[in-house]
Amino acid sequence: MNPIAIILLFPLLGFILNGVFGHKLPKLVSSSLGALMILLSFVTAISQWSQIAFDINGSISWEAYTFFNLDGLLFRASFALDRLSIWMTLIITGIGTLIHLYSMSYMDHDKNPAKFFSYLNFFVFNMLLLVLGSNFLMMFFGWEGVGLCSYLLIGFWYQNASFGAAARKAFVMNRIGDLGLLLGMFLIVKNFGSLEYNEVLPAIAEGSTSNVVITSIAILLFIGAMGKSAQIPLFTWLPDAMAGPTPVSALIHAATMVTAGIYLVVRCQAMYSLAPMAQELILWVGLATALLGALIGLRQNDIKKVLAYSTVSQLGFMFVALGVGAYTTALFHVTTHAFFKALLFLGAGSVIHGVQDRQDIATMGGLKKMMPITYITFLVGTLAISGFPLLSGFFSKDEILANVFHHNIIAYVVLVFAALLTATYMFRLLFLTFHGEFRGTDYKLSDVHESNWKMTLPLIILAILSVLGGALNLPHYLMHQEGFLASWLKPTFLIFEHAEHSDLATEIGLISVAVFVFLFGWFYSRNKYISKSESPESGSEGIAKVLANKFYIDEIYNKLIVRPIEFFGDVLFALFDTLLLYGITFSINPILRFTGRLNRKIQNGNIEYYLIYMVGAIALLLGLNLFFA
């Protein structure tokens, strides 16, 4: 059996088994089954590593069947495990396994863990479809599939109506992006007669396609990426998606699904490299999102919301990298972000469990004594994302900054500012949660408990990865050669990726800025929340209020888009459809009735009248006859 089939089969099997029989199985069995399936997928993917590493153009492909066939234009269900997709597969299944393990404990108290694991397995299946598909169609299948799973998992606790609203919002906003993606695919088929990567991308790389076409396709695909990867203007669903169980936030809304947009652009490297206008768009959208997310993150008091806006912002960083053509760097940041953001979310979940389902950091504080493992791992995650030297986030973020520095100095300054905010809000979160005085009012610090091993083990593993993850792509100035990821991905890029190598002085300058940014964020938050022990801002006035209310973007969307459509729907229904259209069409009724009534007066059934009509008509005819004769 083809290894790709095996990789896909396990999570699908888990979905079906748990979906059909799960509710009859003991909780431990159904949840272990879910975790095991992802682990098996992970192991299978690892076993294929050497085969791909061995040959520089090595990839394993699998033609499952023809999905449909339009007069010889084939839409195939075909898959390929190449250097890029195996990288993504390992992230998905590797982190997926850890999060499944974590969920075994986290969802233990839930009524229906089998349903949860079934959905989560199905998510992994779809995510794998997305990265393993060897054409845009299969990618789109996974793309929409993960959106559906996201809907199901955000609304997992379906009795809560507001969770349901968040789930629908996520799905609909994603679909707005999907429309762009779909139109992009149509344009691809129209111009290249295929959706297969290995037919379309080489044709683009050849350079004979018109720039307008390439740019249009690139922008349409990017619209899809905006939806999935929560970029301005389609980002507001992601913070709401935190309604789902926390492992879902870690796996789907931080580590994997939301990075699908980056994967898409990296996959289409040939296309974007030849579409500078699209790249410029990506750069500025990413930059604006990075800044906006970080600003809002400064004044959120819900532990998961801070992390959600942080994710929005970090995704912006990745798009900035793509915008300046640093594809490897973007994927590097995808990887390190997957480590530390999954860690932070799972840490947050551990906190939420520890404090009995509270999420407001205003009611926390001083938890580090009670939850040492959670605290230390969360600290590692914070250091990593804030760019503490030599941790994973330091390297990947520094690489982005260096690339932007060479590309556009304004963008660089803005991005440094966003990084500074990142360190600030992360330390704010850390200090308010774990340091200082305990601020809980309706529960006691002594009730807070550390989580069990199923939850702490993934935290520890992810913490180690967050520390060491930088080794995956060490910078040129340290190694005097390309990083591992850069040389790994090189064969998959059809157009030579131009890597910027700064001279030593510039590099030292850039690193100093990065370190300063880290220190500033740490010092500012420490001064404010530990030394002065300020409690979290309620954000009731001035600019803090604007930030706490997320720039009122949801409200603006509601007023400008949702309400008008609803209003339009009402007006069309009540006035146009019912009153006007139905009314006009059937206004013929009274007319018919009126003429009918007139007619009835003539045909009243009296034989005398009929005789008169007859005689009259004969007289008339005779008269006419005489007249004309």
Binding site: H23, Y65, T66, F67, F68, N69, L70, D71, F140, F141, E144, G145, L148, Y151, G155, Y158, Q159, N160, A161, G164, A165, A167, R168, F171, V172, R175, I176, D178, L179, L182, L183, F186, L187, V189, K190, I565, E566, F568, G569, D570, L572, F573, D577, L581, Y582, T585, F586
Partner: protein, 483 residues
Amino acid sequence: MELLIFLPLVLALVSALGSKWNRWIILVFALSGLLILTGNFNVLAAAIQEKSSFQTIVDYPWLGDAVHFRLGIDGITLFLLLLTNILIPVISLSIKTDKRPALIPLMLFMQAGLNGVFMAQDGLLFYLFWELAMIPIYFMTLLYSERDSYTTTIRFFVYTFVGSLAMLASLIYLGTKSVNGSFAYSDLYNVQLTLTESIWVGAGFLLAFAVKIPLFPFHVWQPNTYTYAPAQGSMLLSGIMLKMGLYGLMRWYFPMASESIDFYQPIIMILAVIGVVYGAIIAIRQDDMKRLIAYSSLSHVGLIAAGLFALNKSGFDGALLQMFVHGINVVGLFIAVNIIERNFGSRNLNELGGIAKSNRLFAVLFFMVVIGSVAAPLTNGFPGEFLLLKSVFDYNTTSAVFAGLTIIFCAVYMFRMYQFSMLGECNSDTEDKTIPVSELIPLFVVAFFVVSIGLFPQWYMDLFQNSTTSLLQIISNAKGVLS
């Protein structure tokens, strides 16, 4: 194959004789069509062969030489026969006979008419079956509508009848022009018309089909009829009958009045795309589940019509596939609504909620139909919608952008419907009430098609692809004659 028409008629009579039938006997009655189809395997296999055009399989002189009882078959007809004869048993499973004894005979009567419409190969015979299929639905809505039955029914009937008469006029006009006044399908489409003639003849066909589909703004009969008709009436109307209109476009309008296509194409395209957006926006605001489905159906069939008028391979294939899929899904939705209304006493979204809690299986099945309608990949809605949007895109980019809005709006109204009926908190009516599993049987059939078409659309498309190719060839040849 003529048994497909006569057997249901006989069974309709038989079933009318008794009033209380066991639901399994009814199922056997309803399955007769499918049995005949399997019995004629050889004929069907021939129908899907390469280069298969509309082959005559039955031919008796009927009204003199001019009008024959002539039936034909090809992949397109076969596919719609399958749809009809699969849906009839599915619908029959959802019927509770005790209260509405006439439903079964009327439904079987209708089955005969529908099978006839899809097979007719003679202009007048086509018209005859077209009207024959209408009569049962007239009685169904008249007898069993929940309110305003007389007004709704008479308006619906007269309105569609006016359209049909226009078609009759067109057919007769064509007949007078054809060799020996024959109404045979091939003789009719060989008639050469001037552009003006063709526009008038085309108008007759289009009026009939636009009303039946229904195409915006000819849909005025539809929302009230779907809403107030008995559930099975709504299923028959939306699941099968409206496909008569779409089928009519393919089989009759395009070849018969091909000279007028260039004239009507932009008009219908615009109307169809307006219908897609219009139906969807209204559906977003409906609280009555049946009315919501009615408007969503308007939106979905608008897209099918747009695909047909794009007049390319992907449009025709997508349209046929989606005709089948829409039939399956809309019937599934009406069944689900019917189950909800029967068990919980309401189908108003404001009065429901939380049904999923005690009805896990129903929740899953209903959800499958919902995502099928939303056209999520791996469900049956996706391949057809993909092909249709692609065909519209190939015709005109702007139209595709507007038609594409359906994938956003459909998610809004479908998930809203699911949310407020199935999810959320229970109320006193929906608390701890379990739906009997036997009521769910038809939904299993629907779910089977949701998944199998979603995974393997090519299995289904193999049935009709050769025929759509040859039909498109005929149309483009006919267009070529004039230009």
